[in-house]
């Protein structure tokens, strides 16, 4: 599903964020990306979403080399990749339902699809009774559930989660991880960057560790360190 072949990403001023990374992630896998701040986790995620292009090497998503993808095709790639962030990135002037529906609306899905899928996905994330609330009326955990609902409403092949529990207390984090696990069981590949040792050690999934842009460990059923 995701394949990196000797990928290097260098930013201006010769800052190397990722060096010679080669990874093969199968469909339906759940992968933790761990490492200290500045180790290259975010660059790794941004490369998968084509927010960045590799300086060297190739990245394949669903068999396509996304580095050589022309820019007008990038939106169509992104429709297959859901993204969840630490800061949720919700629109405060829209209700929960509107936030989720927005993701379908802007890719041109017809209204009857929006009307049908939004309540269903909000039920799935446990927010069926909060559709008309605004984000600032929700707790952090609930806001992250909205963000996950938005990322998953289009049934993407891949879900990228960049520190999704970074702003949440441990109890709420467990709920979010259960939700991501449930999504993963539907066949969606999940790649999650995290600092949360407890979660990684509890879940025992594949762990890729980055250190100064280099993959130093790739372990199945791994732990944080």
């Amino acid at each position: 599903m995701i394949k990196l072949e000797n990928v290097t990403k260098t930013y201006k001023g010769d800052v190397v964020a990722l060096r010679g990374a080669s990874v093969d992630i199968q469909k339906g896998e759940f992968v933790f990306l761990v490492g200290q701040s500045g180790s290259g986790k975010s660059t790794f995620m941004r490369l998968l979403n084509r927010e960045e292009v590799p300086t060297e090497g190739q990245i394949f998503v669903a068999g396509k080399d996304i580095g050589s993808l022309s820019s007008w095709k990038v939106p169509y790639l992104r429709r297959n990749i859901g993204c969840v962030f630490q800061d949720f990135k919700l629109l405060n002037k829209k209700t929960v339902a509107e936030n989720v529906g927005f993701a379908l609306e802007v890719i041109g899905r017809p209204r009857h699809v929006v009307v049908k899928q939004v309540p269903a996905i909000l039920e799935l994330v446990g927010l069926g009774d909060k559709m008309l609330k605004f984000p600032d009326e929700l707790s952090g955990g609930e806001q992250q559930r909205v963000s996950i609902a938005r990322a998953f409403v289009n049934r993407p092949l891949i879900l990228l989660a960049d520190e999704p529990t970074g702003n949440l207390d441990p109890e709420t984090s467990v709920g979010i991880m259960r939700l991501l696990d449930r999504i993963n069981r539907t066949g969606t590949t999940v790649v999650m960057a995290t600092h949360d040792r407890g979660i990684v050690d509890t879940m025992r999934r594949r762990v890729i560790e980055l250190n100064r842009g280099v993959i130093v460990r790739d372990q199945h059923r791994g732990v944080y360190e």
Binding site: W72, P75, R78, F102
Partner: protein, 295 residues
Amino acid sequence: MALRVEYLVRETGNNLRRNVALTIPAVLTVAVSLALFGVSLLLGGGADRFTQQWRGGIEFIIFMNPDASQDQIDLIQNAVNTSPEVKKWKYFDKQMAFDEFRELFKDKPDLVNSVTPDILPPSYRVVPQNPDADAVTALAAQFENQPGVKQVRKATDVIKDVESLTRYIKIGLWVTSIVLFAVSLLLILNTIFTAMTARRREIEVMKLVGATNWFIRVPFMLEGLIQGVSGAIVAVIATSVFNGQVFPRIQRLEILKDFRVDSGQLWTTSIWLIVLGCVIGVVGSLFGVSRYLDV
């Protein structure tokens, strides 16, 4: 598709409403620049008509009697043709005179219908070697009182003044309107930029979930287009008012009675203004979105 149209209308409407403090100056600047341009077009048209008979350095016209004999016509032709003081000349027969009359008075069909080529005088239009007033007067005098000649009419100073004055006014209006075009483009660009900055979070989310650049761009471009077209509509109204109120006053002066704009020209000018309004709006907003949306 229905959703997309609804989305476009809603988003464009929201942008215009949120941005009203910037939208109004942008629309007004477009309106002023286009109105000046429109007036310069009308003024140019009016002046062209006024000076039509005198273009190309023609200093006097020898009008023959409508019933002048062919011998009399040939005699005058021979005289202008052999005179060393005549640089160029052109013969206008009755049909050409009628065509010109029809063109000059095309917005007065009753007048045109009451005239036939027979009653119009043929004429010679003369460009002398020396355009000085004394030389022209002396040369024109040679043809007065010749058999078959009805009248020799000289280009008056007024015609020359009007020609040069309208030329300067037109240049002035053009320069001003070009500067204002640039200002309106920048104002629209700024409005679009502000609208996009206000919605940067939304745009970020749109990009993340896979909205195409065009989907993101179009509401902002429509906003620019609406600003341009609104400005153009105001300009068309202003130009029509100018045409209705100011030109009739100009025509009241006997000497400037031929200074006229017909309704066809007003239509052409209006279409030009609307097209230019669209161009300003779309180009301004296109610059705005392309600078912001580097996906």
